[in-house]
Amino acid sequence: MLKSLREKNLGILALIIAVFFVGWLEQVEPGGVGITELTFGIFTFNTVVRIGILTIVVVGLNILVGYAGQVSLGQAAFYGIGAYVSAVFTVQAKALGIPEAIASAWIWPWFLMLLGVLITGGFTWLIGRPILRLKGHYLGMATLGLGIMIFILFRENFAIKPSTVIITGGLDGLPDVPRLSIGSYELWPLHRYFYLVWFFAVSAIIIGRNVVNSRVGRAMRAIHGSEIAAEVMGVDTAKFKLQALVMSTMMASLAGSLYAHFQAAVSPTPFDFVASLELVVMSATGGVGTIWGAPLGVTIILGLGEFLRANLHFLGAGSEVEPIVFGLILILIMIFMPEGIAKQITKLFNRRKSNQQTPEVSA
């Protein structure tokens, strides 16, 4: 057990080193040139930041889907709640009557980030129990419906009564979301923000890993294996399913806030139904039931998108081919590697290991 823990810490150490390496590369050759060259033109620095943000969401989703076994097809909406809380209360502070002194304080966006997490967590805690009583397809449909409902609210033109300001910005969204700063130290240009994002991403991976390797995580995995068997082992399945959901939506909300400050704008599209499914796909590609599957899946899917966008025109096709290729690859992954790439790698690894042990086993 201790040995396996040390192996896992090694992975995290490697990740942290990689983060600093990428950050250093950016400072040496700004504009993502270094990364781009190193990755044969697939990843820009910008993409690396997006991978960090989405990793946070997918770690949460992996805990919910991969460990607790509860499907969410509406996760992008919770990601959106964080983004919109951060954007609306900064951009529309004046219209909402928030005193200038508060709204311009450096700590205000950080507070909003926390507020978003609490709102999202509180909301899913309230509605989670009845919804999580549903199973399989039905749970998928309910979360899908929930996600779409929230998305429609982002998209809608809600005006604040005395003025005519549309608080969410409707279809156009909200521009000019401020950058984050600590005191007077602005977390921008991008490489500074990059460190912030990856600080959260690595923390999410560590927390996720700690949780799944604990009593709580074991209970969740037991629920995934067999809800009824978990019950007779004394696990309050309703409670732990709810905890997994709340945790995953809080992580999504946090990532959403980071996204809003990164893009300096929000609009509804990144939080729609297709985005929710893309998150599930990232989680499934990386491998449900492994925390490391999260960064892996996000990297593969985002990388695939970038790669297609960058290279398809060389093949004489326009960007419109991208979704087709994306969809086809998705289908192929699901047919041939339904357990995800991380699981496939682990399996390969284990097979090699067990091959070495064969004489012992057969004895």
Partner: protein, 336 residues
């Protein structure tokens, strides 16, 4: 358990009363009278009929294969867009509009059916033993590909199809004492009604239809009769694709078909199917019709922009209170 049921029922009734009175209040704010409500309901009935068709496709596939087909809305899109292509084809410009539409119908339905069959063979069949979530993602992938190909072929333009009555883009409105109905609505209702009758005939009177039903009721016993579940799976996709295409075709003149019309239609179809309990075809039809009317009434008394939200509110309520569908009588017994 008993207390729980009682609580649930009371809660459901209280919510229902709150919703109805809230709706009436909002309607009053807008000075709605019976004509307005009827108008809204009838317009909703038009969409509802299409949802019903799509729901029928979803229910058919689910019954036979256990897969929830996310690509179902794509079939409707394909039906409408293929019809547009035939109608706009230069080579056919000599032909009369009416004849062209008839041709468009056959091309749209047969090609879409073929696509349905191909999808089943290429994407669904290889994963027939996979986990439900995997299968759902595969159908999502299929939908993304379908929509992508449609964008490639037709671009992002919104097209028009001539209305079946006038054979022009502008349809003929029919008036009944303050209520206004487009003639195309009657085509939609008529088509859906005819399709229902044909489907009834297919499932009740033909050997294939009976075999499909048998496969849905008890797959193992069906195998013992010599019925191949694999073939039935292909048949269910073909049938669902045809249903979707017919829906898209008749809806075409009433909307502006475009490559991305499938998503919303598909999702509404699901809600309708779930309202029917996912396995019950007549209940799914009723679900579709109710859904169309409720969402249109809801949008009418609140804001047009949030029309889509009602479908999902209904979805969640149905899932929580009547997971076996609005018509189901039995109490769910938890299986171990």
């Amino acid at each position: 358990m008993k207390v729980n049921t009682f609580f649930k029922q009371t809660l459901a009734i209280v919510i229902l009363i709150a919703v109805v009175s809230g709706a009436l209040y909002l309607g009053n704010q807008k000075n709605f009278g019976w004509p307005q409500y009827t108008q809204l309901a009838l317009e909703g009935l038009r969409g509802g009929a299409i949802y019903a068709l799509i729901a029928l496709g979803i229910v058919t596939i689910y019954n036979v294969t256990g897969i929830i087909n996310f690509a179902q809305g794509g079939f409707a899109m394909l039906g409408a867009m293929l019809a547009v292509s035939v109608n706009n084809a230069q080579q056919l410009s000599e032909m009369g509009v009416g004849l062209r539409l008839v041709l468009a119908f056959f091309v749209a339905v047969s090609l879409t059916t073929l696509v349905g069959l191909l999808i089943e063979r290429l994407a669904i069949y290889p994963a027939r033993n996979a986990e439900p979530l995997t299968q759902i993602i595969i159908t999502v992938g299929v939908f993304i590909v379908m929509q992508g190909v449609a964008f490639l072929i037709w671009g992002s333009d919104q097209y028009t199809l001539p209305a079946f009555t006038t054979l022009e883009v502008r349809d003929m409105p029919i008036r009944f004492s303050g209520i206004l109905i487009k003639a195309q609505s009657f085509w939609i209702w008529g088509t859906v009604a005819i399709v229902m009758v044909l489907l009834y005939y297919f499932f009740e009177k033909t050997m294939w239809g009976k075999a499909l039903r048998a496969c849905a009721i008890n797959r193992q016993a069906a195998r013992l009769m010599g019925i191949s579940p694999n073939r039935m799976s292909a048949l269910s996709f073909a049938l669902a694709a045809a249903l979707g295409a017919i829906g898209g075709f008749v809806l075409g003149p009433a909307t502006r078909p475009s490559y991305d019309m499938g998503l919303t239609l598909g999702l509404k179809g699901f809600v309708a199917a779930i309202m029917g309990g996912l396995v019950n075809a007549p209940a799914a039809v009723l679900g579709g019709i109710l859904l169309g009317m409720i969402e249109n009434l809801g949008a009418g008394i609140t804001k047009a922009g949030i029309k889509d939200i009602f479908a999902f509110i209904i979805l969640i309520f149905v899932l929580l209170f009547r997971p076996d569908g609005i018509l189901s009588k039995r109490e769910t017994v938890e299986k171990v």
